[in-house]
Symmetry: C2
Subunit: 211 residues, 2 copies
């Protein structure tokens, strides 16, 4: 099997625990890296350049778009957000699995452009549990909760486009499961094109020789 890493897109309902899962994967397994997005929005307090985001200006961002330097990008509230391609490519070539934590529109763009990417959708065990988790935080107003639930409805429409649906019930179990799914994905034909074409070519040679 080819040693190239997997481009793994993690999406899911707000409140499903994506952030904690990503941290868990990075902590428990050594062949994962988190892709750091590039953005034109101003850094918030405590955000460090190159850690939470690569902060840049509009001109540089648009130049990067023109140079095909982004895996995907989107504009949101007047700011650009995108995934720098060079980092993703380098890490995958080094055999590391690159995690992108993005929402469904971005995920679908990634799959279209990189059919060998792996799309994982994280969900709580039930909608009831999702609602419960949002309310339990205690920091959200009823309006915010209502908006998040409305957004969850939209997000749920895209679940079939993902390769796998994982239920985040127990955190450690879920981390291990995502790792197993990423590992399984290495065996898909789309990620073994070189192996397939080599064995095919060699078989052709033998069959000809044996005629």
């Amino acid at each position: 099997m080819e040693p190239r890493g997997i481009l793994m897109v993690l999406s899911g309902f707000s409140g499903a625990g994506k952030g904690t899962l990503v941290k868990g994967l990075l902590r428990k397994y050594d062949n994962y890296v988190l892709s750091v997005s590039m953005t034109t929005r101003a850094p918030r307090q405590g955000e460090r350049n190159g850690v939470e985001y690569f902060f840049t200006d509009k001109r540089n961002f648009e130049e990067t778009i023109k140079n095909d330097g982004l895996v995907e990008y989107a504009s949101y509230c007047g700011n650009y957000y995108g995934t720098p391609k060079a980092f993703v490519e380098e890490q995958m070539a080094a055999g590391r699995n690159v995690i992108l934590e993005i929402e469904i529109q971005g995920a679908l763009k990634i799959k279209e452009r990189f059919p060998e990417s792996l799309l994982i959708f994280v969900t709580p065990p039930s909608a009831q549990e999702l609602k419960h988790r949002l309310e339990k935080r205690g920091t959200e107003t009823p309006e915010v909760i209502a908006r998040r639930l409305a957004r969850a409805v939209e997000e749920s429409e895209g679940m079939e486009a993902y390769d796998y649906i994982v239920v985040n019930d127990d955190l450690e179990t879920c981390i291990d499961e995502i790792h197993r799914l990423t590992d399984a994905a290495r065996r898909a034909p789309v990620r073994n094109k070189k192996f397939i074409s080599e064995i095919r070519e060699e078989l052709h040679g033998f069959a000809k020789g044996a005629e």
Copy 2:
């Protein structure tokens, strides 16, 4: 996740060790069963009805076809071969993974009819190794080996249609890998339609209530 078992189709080059892998899966894990084919060909010495095959006559076989009682069937050297549907359905409903060991044409028919089936293709690490294994048996004439290699060329053309390609290098490793892949497949959306539609419906209800 739904407790229904997986319909797992195992194909691969002659000499890849499919038979041994199937035996290994049945020995090591308790949630697999092997689908027994129905055929109109006469039993060979030592073959037991219901173990190697269900032996039947042409009339009964054709009646079974007419009653939609087969998952797939094919005619080969004047005899029918097919997979009885009732057994497959019962076992999957009981949460067991059903193994079908069939060649690529049958595998593709299964996938068309049952998109939730899982197609696994087994290959030796290289074409060289495949040739070596065929020659090592010492029982095959050069003509038989040539025919098998020609057939392998054909089979290799269909590898992309499979969900996963597994390399049978070390037997035990390969058995465990097939098990992990089958387990991973349970998380595909196509095998969680009920879960997805339920969470979607429930979210709709909450979003409406929160408006």
